[in-house]
Every structure is written in C-alpha cells, then in structure tokens.
C-alpha cells in the first residue's frame, strides 16, 4: 500500500512540475518574454490582436500564445523528400526529452516535515517527525551529476535534427550546436566544482539547505556570495548550453536561416522551440538553486524568521506559510534569471561561431580552472 501511495505522489509531482510549472512558464515565456518584453524594449506595442471568445481585452497577449499553439497543430508537417524520415520525426522528441527530464531533481521547497519544524544552527530540524520529500520529484544524492548527464544528452536532439533534414543549413546548424554544447559543458562542470568543494554535496536540496547558513550571523551563504565568479561563468555556460542569444549561432537566422530546425514545420517545429524554452526556464531554476539560495528566503527557517542564532523565531510564522514563501521565492528567482536572459537576448548581437569557441576554451575555461584552484586553496586554509 505504501508503495502505491509513494508512486501516486511521484506521479502527482511529475504532473505538477512538468505540466503546471515547466511547460506553462516555458511556453508563456515565448510570449511574455520574447514577444511582449521585447516590444517593451523596442518601443512597440507587441501582440495585442487576438481575443478570447467573450472577452474583449488583449490580456497582455496571452490569447496569441493559445492561437499560436492551435495554429502550429493545424500546420502541414513537411518532411523534405530526401530527409531521413525516422530521425527527422524523432529529433524533436529527442530534444524535448532532456528538457523535461532535467526537472526531476529541482527542489521547489525543503522536504516536508511531518512533525514540528524549527531551526538549530541555521538549519531546519524536524522535531517529533521526519522529513518527507514532497517538493522535488526525486531526491537524488547525485543530483548535480544527473543534471550534467541529462543536459549532455540534449546535444543529440540538435545534432540529429541537423543531420536528418538533408539540408546544408541544417547540417551546419547541427555541427555548430554540437561543437558549442560540448565545449561549454567543460566550463559548466568546472565552474561548479568550486561550489561543490564548499557545499560538500551533490544533492541539490542539500545544497540549498547549506545555503541557508549565515556568514557572520547576517549574510546568507548563497552561492553567488561565496562563488561570485562561478556564478557568471556558470550562467554564461548554461546560456550557451541552451543556445540562447548571444550564443545562438546554431540557429543564427541571418546566416544559416534557422540552423538545425530549418526544415522543421508544424508541431515538430513548435516542440523544438518549446524544448528550448523549457530548457531556458530550467537554466533559471538551476542557477537559482545553486547560486541564489534556491527556495531559501533569507533568515526564514522552519517556523519563522530568525535574526541571529536564537532559540525562538523573531517573527514566528505557520509552517504552511513558510512553504508558500519558499516556493514563491524559488519561482521569483527562477523568473528573475529568465528575465535576465531575455534582456541579454534583446540587447546583445550574436557572437561568431569561432568567437564562441575562443570564449569557451580560452577565457571561460581558464577562469573556471583558476576559480577552482583558488577555492580549493581557500577552503584548505580556512577549514
């Protein structure tokens, strides 16, 4: 009976995370981020024509996003004559899979405490009960390694899409994206090595718990505080990994049309786009988990706000409110990183392919190595 219950909860978590968080935010971002925000930046009005039946108001353009989805479904699906039908059809699924699977380890809040939660030494402790994993799909011990592994798989989607289309533009796009993603994975891993030394864990929820500790009793020990350089390195590497501007050479529309998805149409095109946006949202959630304290609200612990290492909370709060605040805090941080990515997208021109390689191998990689060495040295001396 317990097993069935457990499975049901996991299924529910998957549904909630994927269908209620990742997809809606991912696809809404196509609208609000890419279209409405860009229109604000560019002194335009943006999408405002489509209306929902019965509501005579543009609703900041949300009906457009529904209309777009509907349109995509009804579009003709074109497969180029000499394309490899099997791989051409499979490629969108291959690129969507890692984008969804990555969400398995993201903690949306701390484990649920079945007893009474309180704080000891800036850590939540559960009195008269146990922690129960309710807010991440899976509490993997090797969570961060899982993220690296799955995001490495996402290169296959682009490479296969580019190769199977039988178009030279697609091929160039596929090659570019493979080269770019493989190069930036090195930086991505190394920039996090320093933070692994400090936190001493790969479990993402455990990482967030550690970030609840305070330096000098007032400064939350978020990743961005202890590893500021790694934050920028990791953000840049992740943006390159998800092929967002200014690293969007694999789909650089001016030179190679649309890159590896030039020959895709209809819902296949939409799925590739969607997986890219979901991956973008994931970057936001991962960066906020590792560097911005994840679900942590500064000075908020199991039963309220603590200013100083006291026994009683300075501002006591009910446990349900703490959970709401934490999930909200995580979502806001994620959206902030997303917003940052879109601001960059609409501000910066695109790099050239070889410049991206130079940046990755000759600047970001040495920097992340230096960061790792210095962190290791400092940790050795201090601890």
């Amino acid at each position: 009976m317990d097993l069935v219950w457990e499975l049901l909860i996991i299924l529910l978590k998957i549904v909630v995370v994927v269908l209620l968080f990742a997809f809606p935010i991912g696809s809404l971002m196509t609208l609000l981020g890419d279209r409405k925000q860009s229109s604000l930046i560019q002194n335009r009005i943006g999408p405002n024509r489509a209306r929902l039946p019965g509501i005579n108001h543009p609703l900041v353009g949300i009906p457009h996003f529904l209309a777009d989805g509907l349109k995509m479904i009804f579009k003709e699906d074109i497969i180029p004559r000499q394309a490899n039908r099997f791989w051409h059809t499979l490629a969108p699924a291959i690129s969507l899979f890692p984008a969804i699977a990555l969400w398995a380890v993201i903690p949306f809040s701390d484990h649920y405490c079945t007893g009474t939660a309180t704080m000891v030494d800036y850590r939540d402790v559960c009195v008269d009960g146990a922690f129960y994993n309710l807010f991440s799909i899976s509490n993997l011990e090797a969570g961060l390694l899982y993220v690296f592994a799955i995001s490495a798989v996402s290169v296959y989607g682009a490479a296969i899409a580019g190769w199977a289309s039988n178009s030279k533009f697609s091929l160039l796009g596929g090659l570019r994206s493979s080269a770019q993603m493989i190069s930036y994975e090195v930086t991505m891993g190394l920039s996090l090595a320093g933070i692994l030394i400090i936190y001493g864990t790969l479990n993402l929820n455990e990482m967030v718990v550690v970030q609840g500790q305070l330096l000098w009793d007032w400064l939350p020990m978020w990743g961005i505080v202890v590893q500021p350089l790694a934050f920028f390195l990791f953000l840049a590497a992740m943006m390159a990994e998800t092929k967002r501007a200014p690293f969007d050479v694999p789909e650089g529309e001016s030179e190679i049309v649309a890159g590896y998805f030039t020959e895709f149409s209809s819902m296949k095109f939409a799925v590739i786009q969607l997986s890219e946006y979901v991956a973008t949202v994931f970057v936001g959630s991962l960066v906020s988990t590792v560097f911005l304290g994840g679900w942590q609200v500064p000075w908020l612990y199991g039963d309220g706000f603590y200013f100083g290492n006291t026994d009683e909370p300075s501002i006591p709060l009910p446990y349900w409110l703490v959970i709401v605040l934490r999930v909200g805090s995580f979502s806001i941080k994620t959206l902030f990183i997303l917003w940052l990515q879109f601001m960059l997208r609409w501000t910066l021109p695109r790099f050239r392919y070889d410049q991206i390689m130079t940046l990755g191998w000759k600047i970001l990689l040495p920097l992340s190595l230096a960061n790792l060495v210095i962190t290791a040295f400092v940790v050795l001396v201090l601890l």
């Binding site: 860009s38 930046i41 560019q42 002194n43 335009r44 030279k168 533009f169 160039l172 501007a245 200014p246 969007d248 050479v249 650089g252 529309e253 001016s254 030179e255 190679i256 049309v257 609409w346 501000t347 910066l348 021109p349 695109r350 790099f351 050239r352 392919y353 070889d354 410049q355």
Partner: protein, 405 residues
Amino acid sequence: MKDNLSPLSPIDFDHMSSEDVMVLNMGPSHPAMHGTVRMVLTLDGETVVKCDAEIGYLHRGFEKQCENATWTQVFPYTDRLNYVSPLLNNFGYALAVEKLLEIEVPDRCNYVRTILGEVSRLSDHFTCVGAGALELGAMSAFLYAIEARELLWDLVEEVTGARLTVTYARVGGLKDDLTEDFPERWAAVEPRLHSTIDRLDRMMTKNRVFMDRMQGTGVISPEDAINYGFTGPVLRSTGVAYDVRKDHPYFAYDRVDFDVPVGTTGDNFDRYLVRVEEMRQSIRIINQALRDLPDGPVSVDDPRIMLPEKEAVYNTIESMIAHFKIIFEGVQVPAGEVYSFTEAGNGELGFYIVSNGTGKPWKLRVRPPCLYLMGGIDRMVEGGMVADIIPTFDTINMIGGEIDR
C-alpha cells in the same frame, strides 16, 4: 534528362567535385540576402573558399523602359532605383538632364534639393546601420533606427506626398516648394535623430560583441577599392576621402560646411563608423541649408521646360499649348550626351544620357554604386567565415532595385 533542364548559371563547377569542400547555395531566397541576390559559396568547414555572387533577380529593364518615356516620365522609374533614398535618385537624374539642357535652376531649388537629399541620405544610413545590427542579432537597435527613419519619411511625406515613391524632382526644378512648416517639423525631428544616433552609438560602437564581429572582417585595401570602382562610404572607410559632394560640388554643397569622415582599415567596423559620422554631418548640412534657404521660385521660369500653373492652363491659350507639348512630346532636350554624377547613399550615382533632340532619352545608362561594390564582394568575404558575409553584405548596403535596374 531532368537535370539538363535546370537553368545554367555562371558557377564554377570545378569546386563541386572536390570532396573537401561543400558548396552552399545562399539565396536568392535567404533571410540575409535582402534584395534577392544569390551567393554560391564554396566552404571548407565554415571558411569561405570561394564566393560567387550572382545578381539579376530584380532586373526590370529600367534603362530600356526609359527610352520609351518622356524625360519627365523617367522620374517615377528613378524612385525605384535605390528605394531607400528615392529623392537622391530623383535629384541625380534631374541634374543630368539639366546639364544637357544647359539651364541653371533657381538657388532655392538647389537648397531644397540639398536639404531633402540629406534627409534621404539619413534614412539610407539609418536603414543600413539598423539592418546591420538586426542581422547580427541585435533587433532592438534595428527598431530604434527604423523609428528614426519613420520620422524622416514623415518629413518626406509631408513635402512630397509619398513616403517612398516620391517623384518629387522635375527637369528644371521641383514639383512643389517645401511646406511652410518644414523648418518647425525639422526642428522637432532633429533632437530625436541626434538622440537615436547617440543611442545606437552607445549600444553598438563600444559593444564588445559588435566590435568582434565587425572589426577585421570584410577588409578591402584602398588600392583594391579604387581598382574595383568603389565609391561612397565603402571607399571612404579605406581612407580615401572621395566624396562627390566635396570634390565636384553640385546643388548647394559648396556653400555649406561639412566634413568627409574617412576610415583607416576598410573593414566593416570602419564602414559602420563612417556611416554614423555621415549621419551627423548630414544633420549639420540640413541645419545650415535651412538657415541660408533663399526665397524665390523653386523652378526655372521657362514654359518649354516647366509645366505652367493649372489656373493658367485652363485660362490662357499659350499655357495650354505649353502644357500639351510637355505632356505629349516631352521636354525637348537638345541632342548630345552627358555624364552627370551625384553622391547617393552608397556612393557615386551616375547618369549617362544620350539625347537625339527629342522628348525622350535615346539612351539612359545608370552607374549604380552598388554594382561595383558587389563586384568586389568576393574579395571581401573569401578567406573569412560564413558568418562574416552577413555584416559585410550589410555594410556595402546593396540595394536590389539599384543594382539590377
């Protein structure tokens, strides 16, 4: 059998057999190949080994059309040459015919032509700089530039009645004078242009990514540029200070003070900088010309050349006859030939006209600045990367309507 039916094109097929290179057909339908040209690229990885530019997709027989139109009827055709700055083509052609007629237009006409010509040049440069940013992925900068262009086109529309197909010049003058409120309108637009130029400058000139993309790409030496017949901003970016407005002044350019910006390296970044500086100079020219704008008529007072007032046409027999003669037979231009050239947005726009003494040109040949620039594009992109074609193709600012005629 089917393959034999495919249209032949001047492509070097030797490269196709090699296994180390890939032939990539860029255009004529490609997002970056605006103005429909086709580039057959031979690529070694991402490096361009060979570039074969093929033009002619927008050919509409402009020069032949002109032989069947009266001198005045040619004006609408010239609108469609460089469709980003149609007024400059209008004025260039009018100047050529006036040289053939050996007439002098009134001073006010020269000033108005200078003013509106520079307005057109501004719109041309704004489009070029903005589109360059767009193609490098900075769409916001593009829209800022286009907003400024809209302001300019509003000015043009106010005076000429059209945004693009202006047909504003006439042989011996202009269709109309400037509107009375033009100076106020210009005064309202000018600060916004300045702020847009400054904003573009801030967004792009010091932008590391932009500099990396533009500097050292699409380089051409001054010798090569001259040998290929380059003119305009592309030639000036190499350090050769040749500007028709300065070296062979026409209209009122010898009576206004302006600088000719030159580059040093002849790369894309210098071409961009030259254009940005020319925009500032254009604003300077307009301000001076508006300040010195003399009073008087804008057209020559000659019934054989200019259409009479509509009122006179209906009420006097002489005017009616003059009207009839100009409309049906055209302005009678004495036999002879002339080559007249002006500085258009992209360089020297020349008109070589042969007249046989009738109301229609016997032969009209255009020297479009872009044609010569496109002739040398292979020099600028070969050895670079595929991505470098984009800024290079933009900064030479090829306009399809002008190159293919």
